[in-house]
Amino acid sequence: MSTPFLYALVGTGLFALGLFALIIHAHLLRKILALNVMGSGVFMVLVALAKRTGDAPLDAVPHAMVITGIVVAVSATALALTLMLKLNAKSGHAELPDDRRE
């Protein structure tokens, strides 16, 4: 088992953990954090997979992707936090209303 593959596995693990947290936690901040963890997992996979087989030079493209991804993730997190704060201000608690259809 090569190192990059290990990293990739860990990344996938993070993704799965994040997903789990996203689903089970009600508080929005936890959910947002969980999403960030998932994001990190994906980025980790990307970075790890930049190492091609054999002695080929490192591929720059995934890194570029990761940078872009981080930018996106930051803005998304910012938006999410703002929304959460607004929701908190309106409803008094930072959780999703449970009734889905009304």
């Binding site: 996938t12 993704f15 997903l19 996203l22 929005l28 959910k31 999403l35 998932m38 994001g39 997992g41 994906v42 996979v45 990307l46 997979l49 091609r52 591929d59 720059a60 493209v61 995934p62 570029a64 992707m65 872009t68 991804g69 996106v72 803005s75 998304a76 938006l79 999410a80 929304l83 959460m84 607004k86 929701l87 309106k90 409803s91 999703l96 209303p97 889905r100 259809r101 009304e102």
Partner: protein
């Protein structure tokens, strides 16, 4: 003259113009409305230019800044992309005209930049040639859409926006993981190159699973539709229209592209398409029944979207033998649903604005006092029900043809049932246009532009029923479905 048209980088401008416009609106809110409207109309003209170019030169490919793949960004447009761009521009105009009088003060200041960003993201998405670019534009679109939903500011809207955001992020992360796997497997993110290099492997399956799940979540295919009704129902009207008409279609477009170019040829026949068809059928039935049960108009329309999305997926199991009609059907359904659903949401918005509520049972005093709006709702309804003459009918006809050619009676029954249920919920609303209720109701005048925007979009959905031949020949430019070009 001709050369200017054919060489001009229409695609790049199509993305840059709205972005710039969004910036301008953001910086100078007082001119936001004018700028916004101007930009939207300009985008429509640009799409026409691009269409001209594609007609003359065939498929459009442009390496931005001359970099080219793999590091640079490629723009690509064939018939399918062009059509998506065109419908975006068209619905965009309607929404902009509507919004120009709908949003006031604070909301207007926020709406225009967000909407122009969203427009830019959509255009970029439809022009993207690689899957990573798609991710970026997809995310941008999602964020803008979430912000737009939150614009209403109410508790429900914020909650719905939050839910939508979580779903969107989850979806795009899954998609991104899929991108990573594909890149690892085949060393490229360019769709065309991937199509050449890809071969059946576990990576393909894993990527399909991840990307598919992500995209289905954002397309709101049953049972992953949970976020859609609240978001669409509680957003401001133009935003609901936008989300139902365009944003949902964008993620479907990606799914369609990936399936056509990469996954379809590799995993076809392994049951995936059957699964999608099954989910589509379930969506039709579930969505329609739910729509029928709703007591509020916007929720009804939102559930109708859930059902209509189902129709798009019915095509997947039908492609195998017939080719042409199934995909043409999908194209047509996408187009007509975009127009009709936008019109429908706008009509609902007018009723809401006029009467101050959207409880269906109390609509009787409202509907008959807004004949144009009622007309818009009815015409849009005709297309949604798939009754002739309308775009929806053409789509349904093609889909039925495909289903019958393969003897898929189960799907036929689902389609017919879906149509009947649709008629049920549409006429549930329309019936209130014909009551004797006296007009003792507090009301707020609805600006004419809002009524006409809805009506014209609905009329466009009807007229689409007569344009099948040119539209289908347009969409076959560059042979996106791999079945040869359709001759008019």
């Amino acid at each position: 003259m001709g050369a200017v048209f054919t060489e001009f980088p229409w695609g790049v401008i199509l993305i840059l113009l709205p972005v710039t416009g969004g910036m301008l609106c953001f910086l100078w809110p007082q001119i936001a409305k004018i700028t916004g409207l101007f930009i939207v109309f300009a985008v429509a003209l640009l799409v026409v230019g691009l269409a001209w170019q594609i007609f003359d030169n065939g498929v459009y490919r442009h390496a931005v800044g001359g970099w080219g793949a793999p590091l640079g960004v490629d723009l690509y447009a064939d018939g399918l992309s062009l059509l998506m761009l065109a419908i975006t521009a068209l619905v965009g105009i309607g929404i902009s005209v509507y919004s120009a009088t709908y949003f006031k003060h604070e909301q207007a200041v926020l709406f225009w930049p967000l909407w122009l960003f969203l427009l830019a993201a959509l255009n970029a998405l439809f022009l993207s040639a690689d899957i990573f670019n798609i991710y970026v534009t997809f995310e941008l679109m999602g964020l803008a859409a979430v912000a737009l939903v939150a614009l209403a500011g109410s508790r429900e809207a914020l909650g719905a926006a939050m839910r939508y955001l979580l779903a969107a992020l989850l979806g795009s992360l899954a998609y991104l993981l899929g991108v990573a796997l594909l890149y690892h497997g085949f060393g490229t993110v360019d769709i065309a190159l991937l199509a050449e290099r890809a071969e059946p492997s576990p990576i393909i399956w894993a990527a399909l699973g991840l990307m598919g799940a992500g995209l289905l979540l954002k397309t709101a295919l049953f049972p992953l539709h949970f976020w859609l009704p609240p978001a669409h129902a509680s957003a401001p009207t133009p935003v609901s229209a936008l989300l139902s008409a365009l944003v949902v279609k964008a993620s479907f477009y990606i799914l369609l592209r990936l399936w056509l170019e990469i996954f379809g040829p590799l995993v076809g026949g392994a049951g995936v398409e059957q699964l999608l068809g099954l989910l589509g059928a379930a969506a039709i039935l579930w969505g329609s029944v739910q729509a029928l049960r709703q007591t509020r108009l916007k929720l009804l329309i939102a559930y109708s979207t859930v059902a209509q999305v189902g129709y798009l997926f019915l095509a997947f199991p039908l492609v195998a033998a017939t080719g042409v009609s199934a995909w043409s059907a999908v194209t047509y359904l996408v187009l007509s649903h975009a127009l009709a659903k936008a019109a429908m949401f706008m009509a609902a918005g007018n009723l809401l604005c006029f009467g101050g509520h959207d409880r269906i049972a109390d609509l009787d005093r409202v509907v008959q006092r807004l004949p144009l709006t009622a007309g818009a709702f009815a015409l849009a309804g005709v297309s949604i029900m798939g009754l002739p003459p309308s775009g929806g009918f053409i789509g349904k006809w093609l889909l039925l043809e495909a289903a019958l050619m393969q003897g898929r009676w189960d799907l036929v029954v689902v389609m017919i049932l879906g149509g009947l249920l649709a008629a049920g919920y549409i006429f549930k609303v329309l019936g209130y246009a014909f009551t004797q209720a006296d007009v003792s109701h507090e009301s707020k005048a609805v600006p004419a532009s809002m009524e006409w925007a809805a009506l014209l979009l609905a009329v466009a959905a009807i007229l689409l029923g007569f344009l099948a031949v040119p539209v289908l020949s347009l969409v076959s430019i560059g042979d996106p479905f791999g079945i040869g070009e359709v001759r008019p």
